[in-house]
Structure formats: structure tokens, C-alpha cells
């Protein structure tokens, strides 16, 4: 397992390097001069000398690869740069946004798991039944449901008509745990739907395959109850592909966070990215995208390690 872990961790390095190069390249190779953008923020006339000095200050007069390494060195040292708009350190902008995104994301993940996994397992147990059909159509619909449809219906019905929950905003746990949970429910439900749909479909496919294996037939022949077969024999084997999906879906959850946090006015990472994009605050965009991609890469690494732990064949491959 140690060799497998080392191989996996080392394998992440080129991916992080290339991802950071892509994020950096996006901002520098596509049309648009960063200095022009910088100047665009100020209302005063700027002389050619100032432009030249700015280009030198930001190393824009140097080769692109030198610019990248200078930028990467700052990133590795924890210096994510400063906002063009507020001149605040980018990390100071990201830090308070982590909790709302994590809280909503974790709640959504939990909701999706608790509802979708049993649903997937039950529909796999009775293929072709009415429940299987309803489950399949439900999963397909969940995957096709745009966040703003779910979010819009929830805000209109639950918040505006019934008044059960606040229509938008976020309350941190230290300002009242109950209020914090109430402010999390609707964004989390919105985010959980498509995630749940994917988990339900993967669980169903996975259980369907495992339930065909001879050891399940043997367990039935021994007279074990169906519940025991599902929980003790099929579960662990069926969970492997589901675990992979959970890792892959983290990237999708960040996509969802961008829209969900916009709908519900949650001050999270997604909303920070949208605000930075709309105000063309490129250092913030760059840092937030890099931050998100590193979290996704690390989460996938953890999933890989977990996979190796669950399945000895993987770590010996």
C-alpha cells in the first residue's frame, strides 16, 4: 500500500503543474493585455512610461515561461496576489468564503448519499419493476434538472409562499446554529439533486452487476436474508465504482456551487469567482480557479487511495 500511495502522490505533481500552467496560460495567452485591464480600472490618463513600468513590474516584458515560474513561486509560498479592485490579498478574500461553500457542499453530499444510495440499491434489486422505472426516470430527471429550476421552485414555494425558510443569504454557525442550518437547506437541496441522480444511477448499475455474481447466488442458496445479502455481501463490492463517482462529482459540485451561490446569494467560493469574473478582477479569478482545481485534484487523489485500500487488485496493478 505504501508503494501505491507514493506512486499516486507523485502522479499528482505533473497534473498540478499542468493545471496551474493552464490557469496561468488562460489569463496570458488569450487576447487582452493585463496592463490594459489594470489601466482600465483607473479613470486617469496613463503615460507610455507608466505602461512600460507596469509591464516591467508585472514581468510582462519577460518570456511567458519566466512569468509562469515567478507566478508559481509566489503561489507555492502562499502569496496568491492582490485584487485589482480592492487591493486586498486574494487569500484573505478566499478564506472566509471556504466555510459557506464547504457547509453547503457537505450537506448536499450527505443528502445525496442518504437518499440516492438506498434508492439505487433497491431499484437494482427489482429490475423492471414499477419502482425501478420510477427510480430510473427520477435519476434521469434529476441529472437534467438545471439548478435554477430547482432553486427557483424552492425559493418561490418554500420561502416566498410558505415562508418556512429564508429565500437567500447565509448565516455562519457562530451566529446561530439553527439559523445557519436553515440558511443551508435550500442551496444544499438544490445542489444535491444532480449529484444524487448520478449516485443513484451508478449505485443501481453497480449493484445490478454484483447481484449477478456467483457468491451472491451461494449466499441465497445458504438461505441468507435479502437484507443481509445486500448489506453484508453486495455492498462492499458494489461501492467501488460509487466511490470513484463521488470523487469525480466534486468537480461538478464546484460548477454547481457557482450557480447555486448566485441563486441564493451565498458568499462562498463560487460567488467570489462570479463577482471576480464580472468585475474582470483577473488575479482573483486566477487564484480561485487554481484553488478549486487543487482541491479537486487532491480529492481525486484521496479517492484513488481509498480505492486502493478497498480493492487490493488496484494497488497491485
Amino acid at each position: 500500500m505504501l508503494g501505491y500511495t507514493i506512486r499516486r502522490v507523485l502522479g499528482v505533481i505533473p497534473v498540478v503543474f499542468l493545471t496551474s500552467a493552464i490557469v496561468f496560460g488562460l489569463m496570458h495567452l488569450l487576447p487582452g493585455d493585463p496592463v490594459q485591464l489594470l489601466i482600465g480600472q483607473s479613470q486617469t490618463e496613463v503615460s507610455a512610461a507608466t505602461i512600460a513600468s507596469l509591464r516591467h513590474q508585472y514581468m510582462l516584458d519577460r518570456p511567458i515561461w519566466l512569468q509562469y515560474f515567478a507566478w508559481a513561486r509566489h503561489m507555492l509560498a502562499g502569496d496568491l496576489g492582490a485584487s485589482l479592485q480592492t487591493h486586498q490579498a486574494v487569500w484573505e478574500m478566499i478564506r472566509p468564503r471556504i466555510l459557506p461553500t464547504a457547509q453547503i457542499g457537505f450537506t448536499a453530499w450527505l443528502l445525496a448519499l442518504v437518499i440516492a444510495m438506498p434508492l439505487g440499491a433497491i431499484t437494482a434489486r427489482h429490475p423492471g419493476s414499477l419502482g425501478d422505472w420510477i427510480g430510473t426516470i427520477g435519476a434521469l430527471s434529476g441529472a437534467a434538472m438545471p439548478y435554477f429550476l430547482v432553486g427557483g421552485v424552492l425559493i418561490y414555494v418554500v420561502a416566498l409562499r410558505l415562508g418556512w425558510l429564508p429565500p437567500s443569504g447565509y448565516v455562519p454557525p457562530d451566529q446561530g446554529f439553527g439559523a445557519s442550518i436553515r440558511s443551508t437547506i435550500m442551496p444544499a437541496v438544490t445542489l444535491s439533486l444532480s449529484l444524487g441522480a448520478v449516485i443513484a444511477r451508478q449505485t443501481r448499475a453497480s449493484f445490478s452487476e454484483v447481484l449477478q455474481f456467483p457468491f451472491i447466488r451461494s449466499a441465497r442458496a445458504k438461505g441468507l436474508s435479502e437484507i443481509r445479502i445486500m448489506t453484508h455481501h453486495a455492498f462492499k463490492n458494489a461501492m467501488l465504482p460509487v466511490v470513484t463517482v463521488l470523487g469525480v462529482q466534486l468537480a461538478t459540485m464546484f460548477s454547481g456551487a457557482v450557480v447555486t451561490e448566485t441563486i441564493f446569494a451565498v458568499p462562498g467560493i463560487g460567488r467570489l469567482l462570479v463577482d471576480a469574473i464580472l468585475s474582470r478582477d483577473y488575479p482573483v479569478v486566477q487564484a480561485v480557479v487554481l484553488f478549486i482545481s487543487i482541491i479537486v485534484v487532491v480529492a481525486n487523489l484521496l479517492v484513488d487511495l481509498l480505492y486502493g485500500l478497498l480493492d487490493p487488485r488496484i494497488r497491485q496493478a
Binding site: 500552467a21 487582452g32 427557483g152 485534484v297
Partner: protein, 299 residues
């Protein structure tokens, strides 16, 4: 459902199919109930948005200040918006743009992704290794985050949104094709062609390409659903269609400002997005079952 056809029945059915393999696949697609429903939904939506001028008397940008924020009625099936424009009409015309952008981005992704996948898969070696690591790295970025970032750098607008979504969808197609090529390049017919001295480019075009098209078609159909959702999200954020041009996403964005007083404004295009994505996804899943023998046997 197609998955329940016994192998011998399926073989005889294929043998009788008048249009060969594609005809048989179309037959299987239409015998799969989910796929049939998906195809019907998709075709209905496409036809409806194409014949928009025939089904609605209003123009998409025709303003009527005497009829602002009216609820659904006989005159305005889905009500009117904040400028008195007919929501049903705008939903249809907006759908034209949403679908065109989504389709365009997938054509772009397939147009660039298939040659890239063929090249890396067939050449192998360092080119393949570098390009695949690059593709893995792009795929580590959340799709919408990447699409938004590219659109932001290129500048807001539908064409740029289309380019961005195409770039985001491209690595998936390239990786799929590359995987197919790797599994095909050691097949007997490819080895035979190589042994008699057929040029590599000709082998790829004549012997490999036709065999990777089926999975690409499936991926592209599912990709349309992804592109519709992504385009609508980009427009919802405000980087896609710019006023007065309407797409489903930009209509939802405006509609959210009137969610309390006029919920139909946001809900009409949102439901259309849902139906279109559902339709294309169901069609894609059906196609997968119809074209892929492995998927058929496990369906």
C-alpha cells in the same frame, strides 16, 4: 426494451434490417421506450423552435408597455415579461439560440477532438503522453468554472460562450477517441493493412475512424445536454447572450428578479432547459444501448 432481446433474435433482426447496421441501431433505438420518449421530446422541441414564426404572432423583442408582467392567458400563453414581451415567443426564439450555441459547441468539440484523439492514439509515444496529461489537467477543472473563465477572458457574448463550451467538451471527446484507437490499433484488420504497406494516415481514416464514430455519436448526443445546461448557466451568470437577445439562460436570469410577482418569467425557460436536456440525455442513453453491443448485453 432492447436489452431484453435474446441474442439470436437480435442477430436475425439485424440481418433483416434494410439499412444494415445503422438501420438496425435505429430500430433498436426506437424499441427502447426511454430512448423513444427522449427522441420525441428532443425532436418536438427542435421543431417547435424552428417553426416559431408559425406558432406565435408576436416578435421576440416586440415591446408592449400596456401588457407588462401579465400572467398566462389566451393572448399570452406563458404571460409577458417586464417589457410586455410575450414569454412564450421569447422562449421559442431563445430556444433557437440556446440550441444553436449548444449544437455549435459540440460540433466544435467533435471537429477538433476526433482528429486530436486519432492522432494521439495512433502515434502513441511522447506526443500521446504529453497531450493526455494536458487533457487530464483540463479535466481537473470544473467544467462550468472553465467555461466561465474562458468566456470572461474572450469577452461576454454567445459566440465566445460557444467557443468556451466547445473547448471544455473537447478533452472528453479526444480522450474517448484515443481510448477507442488504442483498443483498435492491434486488431487484425489494422495489422493486415499495416503489413501490406498502407500509409498510416490512410489506415486511420479508412479503418480506424469509421469504428470510433459510434461512441462519438453517443458522447456528442449526451454532450448536447451538457452544452445546453452550461450555456444556460453562462448566460444566467451574465456572460452569454446580451440584452435584448434572449436565450433560455438569460431569460431565467431576468426572470429571477420577478420570482415573487411573476414566477412564469423564470420558470418557462427553466422548464424548457430541463425538457431539452432530459430529451437529449435519454436519446444519448438510448443510442448507447443501440450502438454499443457491450452496453446492450448489460442493459
Amino acid at each position: 426494451m432492447s436489452g431484453n432481446i435474446a441474442p439470436d433474435v437480435a442477430v436475425s433482426y439485424e440481418a433483416r434490417a434494410p439499412f444494415g447496421r445503422l438501420g438496425a441501431a435505429a430500430g433498436r433505438l426506437l424499441r427502447n421506450r426511454l430512448a423513444l420518449v427522449g427522441t420525441v421530446i428532443s425532436v418536438l422541441i427542435v421543431v417547435l423552435v424552428l417553426i416559431a414564426p408559425l406558432v406565435t404572432p408576436y416578435g421576440p423583442n416586440a415591446i408592449d408597455y400596456r401588457a407588462m408582467l401579465r400572467g398566462p392567458s389566451a393572448a399570452h400563453l406563458l404571460g409577458t415579461d417586464d417589457l410586455g414581451r410575450d414569454v412564450f415567443t421569447r422562449t421559442l426564439y431563445g430556444g433557437r439560440l440556446s440550441l444553436a450555441v449548444s449544437l455549435g459547441s459540440i460540433v466544435l468539440a467533435v471537429g477538433a477532438g476526433v482528429p486530436l484523439g486519432l492522432l494521439t492514439g495512433y502515434l502513441g509515444g511522447a506526443t500521446d503522453e504529453i497531450l493526455m496529461r494536458l487533457i487530464d489537467s483540463v479535466m481537473a477543472l470544473p467544467p462550468l468554472v472553465l467555461a466561465l473563465t474562458i468566456t470572461a477572458v474572450l469577452g461576454p457574448g454567445l459566440v465566445n460562450a460557444m467557443l468556451a463550451i466547445g473547448i471544455v467538451a473537447l478533452p472528453g471527446i479526444a480522450r474517448l477517441v484515443r481510448g477507442q484507437v488504442l483498443s483498435l490499433r492491434h486488431n487484425d484488420y489494422v495489422l493486415a493493412a499495416r503489413s501490406v504497406g498502407v500509409r498510416p494516415s490512410l489506415i486511420v481514416l479508412r479503418h480506424v475512424l469509421p469504428n470510433v464514430l459510434d461512441p462519438v455519436l453517443v458522447q456528442a448526443t449526451l454532450g448536447i445536454g451538457f452544452a445546453i445546461i452550461t450555456e444556460s448557466s453562462v448566460s444566467f451568470i451574465g456572460l452569454g447572450a446580451q440584452p435584448p437577445t434572449a436565450t433560455w439562460g438569460s431569460m431565467v436570469q431576468v426572470g429571477f428578479q420577478y420570482l415573487d410577482s411573476a414566477p412564469w418569467l423564470a420558470m418557462a425557460p427553466a422548464v424548457m432547459i430541463f425538457l431539452a436536456v432530459l430529451g437529449f440525455n435519454m436519446m444519448g442513453e438510448g443510442l448507447r444501448g443501440a450502438l454499443d453491443p457491450a452496453a446492450r448485453s448489460t442493459a
